[in-house]
């Protein structure tokens, strides 16, 4: 009995494959946060006055929150207090004049991506994916721009959008996640250094998956990206976000904000594979991933679909949500969250039904291994006017071993009697009996675990774009060790 548990344990104990640090000279501001630092960031980024104003307002709001100790503590996660004054809030690789093509990109940087298995060049040629790669805080390569521009699609770094499309940024920035939303959203609004911006004009179906690879590199630098995607009437876009970070000892704070806006009949599909450094087997190091992601179905018949595969980070605090404002709008959330060793995840979604006949689906799959703690926290809120609205939620937990935990906190708030809300939940465990059954049929423990885990996640993987689904399966296999096929 002990031996089989140990075998599962040893599979689960694997080294983070992608821990390495690229030595590129970084241009950083001194650690700490103050109005001066905010001004410095804004100046370095050549931002217009309105951005600086917004940042300063956010900073003041955040500073007040910090003073009153308003950092959120309700999540089922535990970590030592974060010293916000010891962090560096801006860091950019020193190659400041933006490269015009990949040939101009620092070869060291390109090699880093290659180690990650995402050679930009190949992606560009073979996969038809336009990659806006964020290395630390400044976008270093944006591809397929011209092709997208022909269709009127804007896909660029956030800084560029601030400079070149200030009217769009002004209109939508903070319209879904205002800086007053929460502690980390306020911090992000004050100090965010870059991110992606995407605008799909009326009636345009974006012909390729838009993708951004984020990577945290410079030591001791919290990364604060901000992503804003606007899908105008009758448009469609599928956006992919994937990331991995190098090995490091100190915890790094990552507080991103993602805002999505879908107008009439528009659809936004947002897929994430998150694989930041989870810390070592003893729970030392790793990324704190405190992210605010929210989409607003502003128009009628609009749809926002979140799919996430979360395998990395020491701590994940993340609730990609949908505000279903337009009548008949649809919100979806498909999630796989895996916690291993001492990882903690408190993740889920909020579906806020405001419009009539709005529908939402939640499928959450939590996998806990080692000493991992996995929490699903979800809210379904049907407001008074949301007549005929429906929600279906399914929360499944899978446990590997006997030292991990799974927790489920569903909140349902229904204020309209015509609504239909369903919630299903299961908890299962990969048992020694199951493993032995596989082995008796000639399959290794590793195969057994990966087949069971992949079977468990099938419903979510189906929602990912093909390429990403393969990557996600691989990631899951690597995170639990194994040859996932």
């Amino acid at each position: 009995m002990a031996t089989e548990t140990e075998t599962i344990q040893s599979l689960v104990d694997r080294e983070y494959k992608w821990g390495f640090v690229t030595s590129i000279e970084a241009d950083s501001v001194p650690p700490g946060l103050s109005e001066d630092v905010i001004r410095l960031i804004s100046t370095k980024k050549n931002e217009p006055e309105f951005m600086l104003e917004w940042r300063l307002n956010a900073y003041r709001h955040w500073a007040a929150l910090e003073k009153s100790d308003a950092e959120p503590k309700w999540a089922n996660i535990h970590y030592p207090p974060i010293d916000y004054q010891s962090m560096v809030y801006y860091s950019a690789p020193k190659t400041t004049t933006g490269p015009k093509s990949l040939d101009e990109v620092d070869p060291e940087l390109l090699r880093t991506y290659e180690k990650l298995g995402i050679p930009l060049r190949e992606r560009e040629i073979l996969s038809g994916v336009a990659v806006d790669a964020v290395f630390d805080s400044v976008s270093v390569a944006t591809t397929f721009r011209e092709k997208l521009a022909e269709l009127g699609i804007i896909f660029c770094s956030f800084s560029e959008a601030v400079r070149e499309h200030p009217e769009l940024v002004k209109k939508y920035l903070g319209s879904v996640v205002p800086y007053t939303d929460n502690f980390f959203a306020a911090l992000n609004a004050a100090v965010f250094t870059d991110g992606s911006f995407c605008y799909i004009p009326k009636g345009v179906r974006c012909p390729m998956e838009l993708s951004t690879y984020f990577r945290i590199n410079a030591q001791n630098t919290g990364q604060f990206e901000r992503t804003l995607i606007i899908a105008d009437q009758d448009s469609y876009v599928s956006y992919l976000e994937g990331c991995t970070a190098p090995m490091r000892d100190e915890n790094q704070l990552h507080a991103a904000v993602v805002e999505l806006v879908a107008l009439d009949n528009a659809t936004i599909k947002y897929s994430t594979v998150q694989n930041w450094y989870p810390g070592d087997k003893q729970g030392k190091g790793g990324i704190y991933n405190f992210v605010t992601k929210r989409g607003k179905c502003l128009g009628r018949n609009s749809k926002i679909s979140w799919t996430q595969v979360e395998t990395g980070s020491a701590i994940t605090w993340k609730y990609p949500s949908c505000i279903l404002q337009g009548d008949n709008s649809v919100g979806e959330f498909y999630s796989v969250a895996l916690t291993n060793n001492y990882q903690q995840a408190d993740t889920g979604t909020k579906m806020i039904h405001l419009g009539k006949n709005t529908r939402s689906t939640i499928v959450s799959k939590g996998i806990s291994a080692g000493h991992g703690q996995n929490t699903y926290r979800g809210m379904v809120k049907i407001t008074k006017n949301a007549e005929g609205s429906r929600n279906y939620s399914q929360c499944d937990s899978l446990l590997l071993g006997d030292k991990c935990g799974a927790h489920t906190f569903p909140y349902l708030e229904v204020k309209n009697s015509t609504a239909q809300v369903e919630h299903e939940a299961t908890t299962s465990k990969i048992g020694e009996d199951q493993i032995f059954y596989f082995r008796q049929r000639g399959l290794s423990t590793e195969d057994a675990v990966s087949m069971i885990v992949n079977g468990f996640c099938k419903q979510v993987f189906r929602e990912l774009p093909m390429e990403f689904a393969v990557e996600a399966q691989k990631l899951l296999g690597v995170s639990l060790e194994g040859s996932v096929g």
């Binding site: 020694e432 059954y437 008796q440 000639g442 399959l443 290794s444 195969d447 087949m451 079977g455 468990f456």
Partner: protein, 258 residues
Amino acid sequence: MLEIKNLHASIEGREILRGINLSVNAGEVHAIMGPNGSGKSTLAHVLAGRESYQITAGEVLFEGKDLLGMLPEERAREGVFLAFQYPVEIAGVSNMYFLRAALNTIRKHRGLDELDAIDFLKTVREKMKILDMDETLMNRPVNEGFSGGEKKRNEIFQMAVLEPKLAILDETDSGLDIDALRIVADGINRLRGPDRAMALVTHYQRLLNYVVPDFVHVLADGRIVKSGGKDLAHELEQKGYAWLEETAEPVKSGVSVR
């Protein structure tokens, strides 16, 4: 094919097998009978490599190789198959996917080409018919929502697909109604052959009416206390196990038998 010599095994410090000696040749069918708690199922699981049991003495040779030194999956690939008494359910993994992965692993080990989904389906279709199995079962998760009888049939079906050299059937007859028993027995009989050995672990003699064994062994208190031909099973049916248990040599508890 299988040579068990003075096999001792215990679980959590309690000795269950106390010196088993048994040889099984290719082409033979052996029935292993005995009262509850005599160690029948333990023997089946020890041969399959269940790691919760500690082997305290003895050896087992399978085709001359040290069986006890192999991992469970290595034993399976070498051709040892255990039909479980209580087959587990595996959510999310379809029967088809599971069995094809198993078959291909074993085929690879034997130096054969792996089968793709289409060839695999061809191979299994015929075998499903023999066991009167509904093809839709293939797309369902392994054993999930199967009735007791369907689970047992599925075990024999897997055996038919994997074509083991040595099949150990642990209480395959339990929980089967008479029609299902006949179908399962028919499936087992079709798999009898000169190159294959079988060990039927059973409490009752009724399976042996359909699958006639070459040898019958009676296990009591962790040892084989009597061996004989097929008639021994009938004798047991009439007399019960008690008369044999009395003749078994008592083993003092706590005394090492090494």
